[in-house]
Symmetry: D2
Subunit: 385 residues, 4 copies
């Protein structure tokens, strides 16, 4: 049990700054009271989540949504709040120029502009001290024939190469894939295979980022996790959950058993410890639910799935597997999954000087009322679509 | 062949006013030059499509996007342009109040407000002379437990009943269904079965509207068409196409064979003639392609699929089917599908005094240049998300 | 808590005789030692499951797989073993005649033969005292054009009508639906809507059977449960689980949270008690795992999901729902789901004089060794494909 | 146009011996009159298809279904009939030993046996002169926890390595992938990425085989085609079509537009000519339709899709793509797709001394009647499940 709590004590989950801002669907973005108006206020909110849960010490930024003049100052600000800046996310999808693609656009001028944005993001990383450059491209096409699939791969490879070559020694690329949306016919990095192939070509500092909502129906995500761990190319997760497409719901809310199976592969592959270099990040949209408590809940969901995965009796599992006892092997896994780990995590929090119930603690903290009052004026942060 | 051309001559396809406005995804709405700024300008554009194709004589409105003070005047304006106003579409999804639902909201005040909007839409129908009230509800939930599924059905039934009872003698409800988006866990009218069951309960003036992009992967849409025709409850189509989810691409662009199979059931069920009461409407978003030519192309795609369906040798098909000759029956269908019907349609257009190539005619008309210049100022119409 | 254990004590789960026989995929049927060779031996095995779990008092038969000369004798035999005969399942898919369909076949002779089989099944029900006639039709087509969708509905309706009219006063039809397999283009009863529409037409003794593996990807099954309960037309479940298509894995093994959500609607709709007429049946294939313990595990999985659903704090849930508190409502549900109900169920078993661990009890019982030895000769039961 | 007909004249499609035998679903295998009883009779039937279509000069074998004592003699027999032996397909899924896997089985004895079968297949290739060893593994698991995903990859890699090292200079591996079935939780080679990664590791003689029915819903197959062509790792197609899962219907029957888009990438990547090393094979099951004419139809469907792809105006397409004209680019593609290429192919056949209508020619040939009479006795070939 000490091994379990030790592992849980070292766990780190990265929060996305944008999850604190307003978001929505193409049909409507609903606004919420108290939503941050600046990168600093997003960091404030993230710091609250970390103070209450103890496992969310870093905040990912999204450029240009979190553009500031002085990233060193932002970094210092974060430290004062008890957190640090994490991955830098690029955004090459919200400019009129990018209608037909960014780095894969048929127009070389637009490709240049997009690639320059990627390079600029590495500049920012130099200032924030971030290790990870997360690249997600919305690039693709909507209609058969619209553009040449092969050529677009060439253009993608060129932009990635240029960006890769700009990376510092301790920096790396996390290349995200997504089946569809906003592109509706082809997407230029639609699946893990495409991301993996480009990473191999680029070199050791390029790894795959798995967003749990970005797959075709029926895809076995834990298989991909195991495969990439074995290949040494899993860089990060963007956690969220989905019933249909990229719904960006709270991680663990749609299929908690799947989340457990994913974390089970992480534990099996000895990849939980932050020292092993896998970044566990949230990437969610809280369209209708209160944002900060939704993020607290999400963090707790990942913790609970992790605790269950750590409880799997590995020796018994292996014995059953080796003996070909299908039911016994499945039972070992389910035994851990069916365990209620909430008491264990409550204890861990108490031991760390935290409230055993972070949600209740948030409710009683008065923070929601405070930001609702303080942030009543000004422009709320959002996706800017 | 006379029967084929006669049927094609009588075909009518309804255009959605909103397809002429800007649209996009949650990531970005790209704007286009020349986009209309008012309901009248949308009607202007729709009238151009009708003048060039000869089969798009009506325009569906979306309330409140097309709200005007004087609907009779709008109706008269449409007539002057050579078209008429068609279905009235309600919108109970873009008000902050509707965050947790409209007619199924747990809050009775919001349900009242939403239902009042539906009743107001019938008032508008009285003024426009529209027959069809198209109801699409984005209502649903994002998280298990969020609301009670059963209660929401009760609330839905109550709002539908009140609206149904308000209908005039020659008015009817088209109840649309959609699997998901913007709701990501439950949708209150997720499938044709739900829509059909409510229609049965309401009475003969309630029929199902099939949006071709609103189904789970693998759903056989033509089966639903045949089933509803047999049951006398198919009211309308919202045509568009999709590779993944509700992509709202040009109808016929993703799976032209599916569109043909749908039209084949229409012809088989003798439901093509406008006199038979099925409304064939487009419901699309032209996010990255030029809007007016995209709509012309869509209209032509429906025409071509219809022509092929009309060419199916029904006697030979029935004989092969009755004889259990799988390959022969399939071959009869494929023979029609593989026929190039473009010459036939070009001839039909010439006979009707139209240009045989509506796309080229549009390009040469100067209309695009004209509206780009004339509509440079002002607020472009859009989804308003 | 008394209410919870009372409800659990009354719960009944029906076992399918065929799950004890060999099964497989189109690629291979693997045989297992000790598999039954007769309906009586299947009943023996089912009785073992009931003796160990206390909640599986009935066995569904499949005709002709379980054809015997004297059904009254078989019924008496079952009673001696401590179980009773349950639903009668018809099989109109394993005769060369049914290649192009059974009750929907274009050939009237074959339709007659298939319908006669259904009527014969009611004769058997008269002898076994069964209440439920479960109808699943593999009927459909593989190729567009192969047969007429509408005509097939007419034929289906006629066969159902004839069968319905033959039902005794306390007998009823459970009409199952399935998206696809073995038909690969259209299926004549592909979804709940089709089944529901036919049931409405037939009369009050016709209800829908939900097989949890028979849906398109992304279908929300608990919505269908709630809808049919509200409509008074849910007759039965065929429980199993799936990651992809109709995988027929052990219920609760692929998505235990979904099973919980389904049982939550059952409890919410007050439909758990056997007196309320919903039949909870397993319908699974244990292709690679030992069959009897797999069925014990499946029964326990349903029990555990039920216990969790019974633990949902309905008052708190309703309050959060009515107040529009998305996170609180979800948390009430998740609190129940995250509870480890195994101790509660172990206690219940002890109280009923059972071993608290039915799987271990089976392992220690020597039954597996006994049947392996006794049933070494003869023809093992199977699907007969 | 000469370029088009030249390319069509050189096209080659490989037929699978097993498509001539009986097949079915797990529910039922329906038998057909005249089905072959031996590898020689399968070759006879394949030769008929080639004689009628002129584009199917080779036959793939499946071991052990096509096991013979003397492969050189079989090869000579094929040559006499006017065809040659093609790829050797291995079968490590129909032995009781393979219940929990073949080359990935936890039991080293079984892995050895399975790998030996692969090596034996290379021995056969030495005798038949086959270039291609097609490997499809049904290996996987049905339940979470059943076996270790990572370990299974290690075992797979070891078996592939041993087989690869056994290949002769002009032999190669085609590694097929499949999402699911018969394994229902994990499959050891579930997607193109997994296959590609193993091929990279193995060396230049390992390439990916795309079975068009083996993907998750919504997968863009032509993207994979383009990607693998660019990477130089596309080895072969197993053509068939599907509406739902791995339905194995006639290629082009479910989504002819998809088949066209696939062939369009082939033409775009200059990969049609047999000299370029891509094998175009059918892999289908004709469960309910007459087998030989179904295969003729399938061959014709591939031909028609190819002819349309060859008709695409590449210069116009590229110009529209480069200019960012979405509609124009799509229109160029659709113009080719909408062309009726049957007259062109009829002409080509006449020029080659063939009947312009191979289906009619088959019907009139008397071959069906001949084999029905001659093959009335004996054991029909089938899948042997």
């Amino acid at each position: 049990m000490t091994a379990v709590t030790d592992a849980l004590r070292r766990q780190e989950i990265e929060l996305p700054s944008w999850a604190f801002g307003n978001s929505g669907t193409r049909f409507k973005v609903f606004s919420q009271p108290g939503v941050p108006r600046s990168p600093e206020e997003k960091i404030d909110d993230a710091a609250v989540v970390h103070r209450l849960t103890g496992v969310a010490p870093s905040v990912a930024l999204h450029i240009p949504w979190d553009k500031v003049d002085d990233y060193a100052a932002l970094s210092a600000y974060a430290k004062e709040q008890g957190v640090r800046l994490g991955a830098i996310n690029t955004n090459v999808f919200q400019d009129e120029d990018y209608k037909l693609g960014s780095v894969t656009n048929p127009d070389p001028r637009i490709r240049r502009k997009a690639t320059d944005h990627l390079l600029e993001a590495v500049d920012i990383m130099d200032q924030t001290g971030s290790r990870d450059l997360k690249l997600w491209f919305s690039d693709g096409t909507n209609y058969p024939g619209q553009d040449d699939i092969w050529d677009r791969q060439d253009r993608l490879a060129a932009a990635l190469r240029e960006t890769y070559d700009r990376l510092g020694e301790h920096q790396r690329i996390l290349l995200e894939y997504k089946l569809f949306e906003p592109a509706f016919y082809t997407t230029d990095v639609p699946d893990w295979g495409t991301s993996y192939a480009h990473c191999l070509e680029l070199g050791p500092k390029a790894t795959v980022c798995i967003d749990t909502g970005h797959h075709a129906p029926g895809t076995n995500i834990e298989f991909i996790v195991a495969f990439l761990l074995r290949a040494g190319r899993l860089g990060a997760f963007d956690f969220n959950s989905r019933f249909y497409a990229d719904d960006d719901l709270m991680v663990g809310s749609a299929d908690p058993f799947q989340l457990f199976r994913i974390m089970n592969e992480i534990v099996r592959g000895d990849a939980l410890d932050p020292a092993n270099g896998i970044a566990f990040m949230l990437d969610q949209c809280h369209n209708i639910e209160a944002k900060i408590p939704a993020i607290i809940r999400s963090v707790m969901n990942v913790q609970e799935a992790t605790a269950k995965a750590l409880l799997v009796d590995r020796a018994a599992l292996r014995e059953a597997q080796q003996g070909g006892d299908v039911l016994a092997a499945n039972a070992v896994l389910m035994d851990a999954y069916n365990t209620d780990v909430r008491p264990l995590l409550a204890e861990l929090r108490i031991e760390q000087g935290l409230d055993p119930d972070p949600i209740a603690a948030y409710r009683h903290s008065g923070y929601a009322e405070k930001i609702t009052a303080e942030r009543a004026d000004g422009q709320q942060a959002g996706w800017g679509a």
